[in-house]
Symmetry: C4
Subunit: 136 residues, 4 copies
Amino acid sequence: MNPLEQKKFAPVGHKRWAIAEGYIPKTSHGPEPEMTSHESICVLNVSDEETHLQIWIFYSDREPVGPYKVSVGARRTKHIRFNYFKEPEPIPRGTDFASIIESDVPIVVQHTRLDSRQSENALISTIAFADAESVM
Amino acid sequence: MNPLEQKKFAPVGHKRWAIAEGYIPKTSHGPEPEMTSHESICVLNVSDEETHLQIWIFYSDREPVGPYKVSVGARRTKHIRFNYFKEPEPIPRGTDFASIIESDVPIVVQHTRLDSRQSENALISTIAFADAESVM
Amino acid sequence: MNPLEQKKFAPVGHKRWAIAEGYIPKTSHGPEPEMTSHESICVLNVSDEETHLQIWIFYSDREPVGPYKVSVGARRTKHIRFNYFKEPEPIPRGTDFASIIESDVPIVVQHTRLDSRQSENALISTIAFADAESVM
Amino acid sequence: MNPLEQKKFAPVGHKRWAIAEGYIPKTSHGPEPEMTSHESICVLNVSDEETHLQIWIFYSDREPVGPYKVSVGARRTKHIRFNYFKEPEPIPRGTDFASIIESDVPIVVQHTRLDSRQSENALISTIAFADAESVM
């Protein structure tokens, strides 16, 4: 339908992003997995290269944990739920955290939470903080 | 009442914007179309020229689709619902996506979602990510 | 308690801001005025001068209306509800709009909506878009 | 598990941030303290130095109050509730305010509110406004 093979997208975004807010609620209401309380990062990679993300989780009372490794294909988006992180260790529920996301190529990162602790869900979303002078 | 014809607005915004989060819920509660679950982009064009937007939708598992074409008049705002996109193809419900918005003139883009999957609605909104060095 | 008279705050913010999203819901639930559906801009002026804001409202189908005039004192915040705008004319309910805020001195602007159309309220908030090269 | 002792994080963020919106609701629904209405700032300090924050609260009708002093450890995040501020004085409930956050080292600040005035909670979150040319 569209000659998408030829379309090249100019780079957009940054290689390093920070999210100061993080919290996976302990409880949920509504059908799983759609309405399960979750904290996620949405990544957009418009480049022609797959990127390999390295994510670090910061806590209030112990050293940062990471890197969590996630790939995002060329010209793809990925919505990554912190709930699903396993290696090097799962993120505990009901605990404050923050995160740093590092990428091989410029990406755009948006932070979203679905909170269904009470019977109706609440949502937050914000573009993450872009580190303009990323040195990785 | 106001001699609005004479008022010239200094340009504001950028020519290229990215939104990493996108999702049109499958279900809604409440009166249509006001309370129908939707994902939208609000565009402000303060310039004295109509602008022709080209919007590209990125997916997690296939090539980007576009351009979707939308015009925004001189000194006008337009709130565009992704739900209504038809050409080149509608955006499937219940699917993660991301978007790139390109404009002839500087604009400001804000991303908003109304989620009425559960009986009370939830809202998110954030200024989109501005590509400061847009090459289109 | 604090010798606040002496404290000088370094300037912060910009002189021109844009909000692409705007909508005052037609209906509300809950006690007035606290839970009345509203759209507001929160302004922070850390400077030692009162600032005189000029706000312009943009519509989808007619010319912009303004300026709406609001003052914010030195070292003060003001949370301004679009609902209360009267001169040159009230903003109609249930209508899409956008806004430009111009200030004499650098300010910070945040956009917030309380939507109580359904029985539980929903909230959005985002820092507005700052025009870095404001020419007023 | 990870040799976290060795990992050095490049600096990210700014030394001065502003939040124009602030409001601690008077009432709450749901189990305390998790579902208590609150207004908070999430701070991420990736540096190898503890930072000492100085926070100033601005009001609509009186002089700013501060500094409120909070420390955030090296490589730590802290989610700070305005509700808990005591010195120099508590922030009154049901009152509009704004804030300035100053730090010794670059940090990232995100603003979040949980509003549980009605029976279902609403959430907002946005990256705060970064003062790029901080002079402290």
